[in-house]
Symmetry: C2
Subunit: 268 residues, 2 copies
């Protein structure tokens, strides 16, 4: 499981302020701390960027790239911002992402071809509603893959996001258990070893005691890992989650297991 | 996942001494602490009990039953001790366990019928060697179920133990990942919702830094839970493992999820 930081988001006041001021330093500091915490990729989530999308996304990508040499996910529904980001990313970018929503099929999916990028597809209905069970998710996966195939892009460009349900939803935890089967079923269903990503922070969004939220996140992560999740998108400052995720990687690594491969104890 | 304490074992000097002295108090104290830590059943592992097996097993079962009203697993390969235990357990006991080893098929398996007990079957070769991959484990499961069926006992009496491999073994972690698929496959393979148990402490047996061992245990437990494990046999004094296990149970519970159902933070 590759650990992607979801920390660079517009909902973080540091990020919001830095974008407003076009000041790269707070972004660089945040990215450096993410890298030090074990982030292996950075998701840039600037929100819809209604004002100045090109200039602001370029600014963000440049700030991130100047702080760490990590893969970048461009996480916005604004096509203009996406294009600017894709032009600025040095390596191969990941577009985050498209769905069966007509506007996204039309204006976001084609960018993966034009900019030679990987692209994440969400298992959501065309109206952006979340499917409610395993069968619905698998049906949507087939439709989504069908839409992707019509572009003619190589299938290994596609990354599927089953969309984790918040536990605050009435049946959220049941959906999140169903997502584990979905992750295991996708390669057989689509006929190739499709990569997957999940936004783990979704799980514990909303009210709830912080300590218990972190506990549940640390319990759910190994379930996702064992179900074959390729990318875990999470708050990399959740130290226990990161330690557990790295322990999962050591367990799942085909190489010889060594205790040295595991993270150090948390210094308290 | 039902949490079974493996703490009442002959390798614990408190237990060894108490058996020698036939002194119930240390056993009662240990069992009370296990119950307070969240144990939902107690595995009594007195070793081979070469001297005085009947009297000693009776003593142990009585001591445990006087301290807590919890289901009991009788964990010995000594048939005389097993019989004494089965006669003393008040509720329904679980025999832990038999395998394809001829002596066990002959002298342990029949006890499940004679004493109306559940019984654990290990996925081991007749010579007690551990199978080395998923296919071997599934073949052994079929053979073991065949041997069990010959007794005519109802199939829901059988509990299967896939035998967790220690990480200190050269390919132990690969085997432990294969065990997850085995757990998921068993119900379809055998044609009924077979219960399963795993000795989680096996994972981290041997040398290694304690903190990292506990981390790996806490990472592996949710994988086992998500694979459908019925009983987790573990050291219930591993606080973080127990918290994570209970978080897994909250996630997997078909009832509505509530934060209140989760364990309290560890007071430090």
């Amino acid at each position: 499981m590759i650990l992607v930081a979801d920390n660079l988001t517009i909902t973080n006041p540091i990020v919001e302020m830095a974008i407003q001021d076009m000041n790269p330093e707070p972004i660089q500091g945040l990215v450096s701390r993410c890298a030090a915490a074990g982030a292996e990729a950075i998701d840039i989530n600037p929100g819809p960027l209604t004002r100045d999308p090109d200039r602001r996304m370029r600014f963000l990508v440049e700030a991130v790239q100047s702080a760490a040499d990590l893969p970048i996910l461009l996480d916005t529904a604004n096509p203009a911002a996406l294009k600017a980001g894709l032009e600025t990313v040095r390596g191969k970018a990941i577009i985050n992402g498209f769905s069966l929503e007509p506007a996204k099929l039309e204006s976001i999916l084609p960018l993966a071809g034009r900019y030679d990028a990987d692209i994440i597809g969400y298992l959501l209905y065309p109206n952006s509603h979340v499917p409610t069970d395993e069968a619905e998710r698998l049906n949507i996966a087939v439709e989504l893959f069908g839409a992707f195939q019509q572009t003619g892009f190589p299938e290994d460009r596609l990354i599927i996001d089953p969309v984790i349900a918040p536990l605050m939803w009435e049946n959220g935890h049941q959906q999140d258990m169903a997502i584990l089967s979905v992750l295991r079923s996708l390669p057989d269903l689509l006929g190739f070893p499709v990569r997957t990503i999940a936004g783990v922070s979704n799980l514990i969004t909303g009210p709830g005691p912080k300590d218990r939220k972190l506990l549940v996140e640390a319990a759910y992560l190994p379930m996702l890992a064992a179900s074959g999740l390729t990318y875990g998108l999470l708050n990399v400052f959740h130290t226990e989650s990161m330690r557990v995720a790295r322990a999962c990687n050591a367990l799942m690594d085909p190489k010889i297991f060594t205790w040295e491969g595991l993270p150090d104890p948390i210094s308290s």
